[in-house]
């Protein structure tokens, strides 16, 4: 692979459409990582990293494929951060990235089906696998002595996959799920779902959804009607909104999200504040990590050609090596330049396993006095 002064990274998220409210901070985080690298002047031969955004629309495979086609074959990007929703991500992967040998790291596509997709080692994701989270969630609830819960999930591959894995684990551990009710994101009203959930009852309501989407709507309706007052939140429900919009209303609720007892998540939050975006919004950390991993792998392979650096992604993400946290990209680049090894931990405690998935540690938290308080790490 040749060296050049410019590295172009594509960012393909749904800037319009159903998750348009999530994507701006995600893109901002990825761009922040790129700026960090550019400013360090250490990548390859002091290359500048230029982000190029494109709109995946989240739902329109045709438009998303077109946009990716443009990024890869016209703009000539060297790596792709994205896509976001599993549907368009699959389409981009098989129709554009794979044929063109382009590497992509998705921060948010969690569909189990993507694990088995043919990818030639070109596809990675920094969002953790659902299977493991279901088990972790079960452990947490069981330790609290919660034996009976109601479950609602957002009706997409993320929600459905997580709900399935949680249900399996929880019932295997002797728990009861009183009802499993899907909810659609972006709808106007969730009374029906809450009505059914309330009728079924349970000690807690588990919401396998997004805090910036229908998850909040369901929670709001459940609280307002007095159906539930404590909840359990998987990763998609973590965000500053919990504190800002709900606060002490949901005291006693618990949740977990990928993370180690590292300063990673807090650093992202602070960095986000400095750059004018919400660092706790869903998939922001994952986006930062996705961008960082691509650039670190380039450095490790000393090439910006995906064919060269695709093999290095796993190396930089996993042990052995020096642990790297957000904001330390310069340090990492230097180590790699000097021929050392790194273990990128990043904001989400990235650990890639076979199939390019992230297997992670989890941070367990509780809402106390309206604040998210870390309880322990698993």
């Amino acid at each position: 692979g040749g060296h050049a002064k410019e590295v172009k990274l594509g960012i393909i998220f749904g800037f319009t459409g159903p998750i348009e409210s999530l994507t701006p901070p995600m893109a901002a985080a990825a761009e922040m990582a790129m700026k960090e690298v550019t400013d360090s002047g250490l990548l390859l031969d002091a290359a500048t990293v230029t982000p190029i955004r494109a709109d995946s629309t989240c739902i329109d495979s045709g438009a998303a494929t077109s946009a990716a086609e443009r990024l890869i074959t016209s703009d000539g990007i060297n790596g792709l951060v994205g896509g976001d929703c599993s549907g368009v991500t699959g389409a981009i992967l098989s129709n554009v990235a794979l044929p063109n040998g382009m590497l992509m790291i998705s921060p948010s596509a969690t569909s189990p089906a993507l694990s088995t997709a043919e990818d030639n080692g070109l596809f990675f994701r920094t969002a953790p696998s659902d299977a493991r989270q279901g088990v972790v969630m079960t452990e947490i609830l069981m330790e609290q002595g919660v034996k009976e819960v109601a479950l609602t999930y957002t009706n997409n591959d993320y929600g459905k996959g997580l709900a399935d894995s949680f249900q399996q684990a929880f019932e295997a551990a002797g728990g009861t799920i009183t009802i499993t009710a899907a909810h659609e994101d972006g709808k106007a009203d969730y009374s029906a779902e809450v009505g059914a959930l309330a009728a079924a009852g349970g000690e807690k309501l588990v919401i396998a959804g997004y805090v910036d989407q229908g998850g909040s709507g369901v929670m709001r309706a459940a609280l307002d009607s007095g159906a539930f007052d404590t909840f359990h939140f998987p990763d998609g429900m973590y965000g500053a909104k919990l504190e800002n919009d709900f606060g002490d209303e949901i005291d006693g609720s618990t949740g977990q999200l990928p993370g180690t007892d590292s300063p990673g998540a807090d650093t992202i939050k602070a960095m986000g504040e400095a750059n004018g975006f919400d660092g706790t919004s869903s998939f922001v950390s994952e986006s930062y990590d996705a961008a960082a991993l691509i650039m670190l792998a380039m450095q490790a392979a000393n090439s910006k050609d995906p064919a060269d650096y695709k093999g290095k992604v796993m190396d930089v993400a996993n042990a052995p090596g020096e642990k790297i946290y957000p904001g330390e990209l310069a340090k990492a680049l230097q180590i790699l330049k000097d021929g050392g090894e790194i273990d990128y931990v990043g904001a989400t405690a990235v650990e890639l396993i076979g199939g390019g998935e992230s297997a992670g540690n989890y941070r367990q938290y509780e809402i106390k006095d309206g604040k998210i308080t870390t309880v322990q790490f698993r």
Binding site: E20, S21, G186, A188, D189, E193, A198, A199, G226
Partner: protein, 337 residues
């Protein structure tokens, strides 16, 4: 007896009250749609985004008021900001009418062309709102959240079931009733209202009666802007303000207007409730209610749910279809072009 009360309260809390509030929200939106259909004779796809625009202005003014400490005590400050939102929305729709719709009116374009044109307007308003306030959730509700919360109700009555009534729910219902009553009075009793009905009935003859069509159109838009802003703000107060959801609201709003009978204000109200109730009741799990009503040995073990909530939209559309099959132009004999 207590069991019966508990059952009643549970049903009210999870079915009746939410459905009434949601129904009123839909009805307010549907009123705007139905008015445009009735008088200007096209289905306005931009209505959801008009609601978002009006609500957005209100949100911005509310924030400003909150920042300088103006408030309404227990009521949401947004009510104070509402008139400004309405004015802003009026300005926007009148401007749109001048530069866009007027041309097609003069051309006597077919309704379907106007529908597609309104889609163009929708795209533009869509972008406009997002430019100004962004695509995310915005919080602007304040004041007392509950008239009575579930917990208070339980303490008060000693029942096992709670009943929560939100200020915003109450406001929505009251405002919806006032709006319909006013609209009815306006259309049926006032001179301007009658001239609007006359215009919608027979445009050419209205001309011959000395009615100025441009004025009728202007009044229509003014009322629509008012309704849209009120609907948008009340919805935002009760749930949340987020531009994309206003776009999504369009579908149930259209369904309401049509199932009630296009062009008929009473129909819009009835339609709103039909849609809301069918969404909420058909997927309701009756277990809780039955548990109170039936003797212990008959208590249901399953959820007693007709269909899972996955199908709530499907079900509301099935009900809509059934209504239309028996009443092909809606519950209240709507128009059809």
């Amino acid at each position: 007896m207590v069991d019966f009360l508990n059952a009643l309260v549970a049903l009210s809390n999870f079915v009746l009250i939410p459905a009434i509030a949601y129904g009123s929200q839909l009805a307010l939106g549907a009123l705007g749609v139905t008015l445009i259909y009735g008088i200007l004779r096209f289905s306005n796809f931009a209505h959801g985004d008009t609601m978002a625009f009006g609500a957005m202005i209100t949100v911005l003014i509310t924030w400003w008021m909150q920042s300088v400490g103006i408030n309404l005590g227990p009521l949401p400050t947004a009510l104070l900001a509402l008139p400004f939102g309405i004015l802003g929305c009026m300005a926007l729709v009148l401007f749109t009418d001048r530069v866009v719709y007027k041309f097609y009116r003069e051309q006597k374009a077919k309704p379907v062309i106007l529908v597609i044109v309104s889609m163009g307007v929708m795209f533009i308003m869509n972008g406009l709102v997002r430019f100004i306030i962004g695509p995310g959730d915005q919080k602007f509700a304040d004041g007392e959240r509950f008239l009575i919360s579930a917990r208070e109700f339980k303490q008060l009555t000693g029942l096992r079931e709670g009943l929560a009534i939100k200020t915003t729910q109450c406001l929505t219902v009251v405002v919806a009733i006032i709006c319909v009553a006013l609209l009815f009075w306006f259309l049926n009793k006032t001179r301007t209202g009658k001239s609007m009905r006359a215009y919608s009935d027979n445009e050419d003859l209205a001309l011959l009666s000395g009615i100025n069509p441009e004025r009728v159109v202007m009044y229509t838009w003014l009322i629509v802007a008012t309704l849209a802003t009120v609907a948008g703000v009340l919805y935002g107060l009760d749930k949340t303000f987020k531009p994309f959801i206003y776009f999504q609201l369009l579908l149930p709003i259209f369904a309401s207007a049509i199932v009630g009978g296009l062009g008929n204000p009473l129909g819009a109200i009835a339609g709103g409730f039909v849609i809301a109730f069918s969404e909420v009741t058909v997927t309701y799990a009756w277990k809780k209610v039955l548990k109170y009503l039936l003797p212990e040995n008959l208590e249901p073990s399953s959820l007693v749910q007709l269909l899972s909530t996955d199908y709530k939209f499907a079900v509301s559309f099935v009900i809509l279809l059934i209504v239309l099959l028996f009443k092909p132009t809606g519950l209240f004999k709507g128009k059809s072009v």
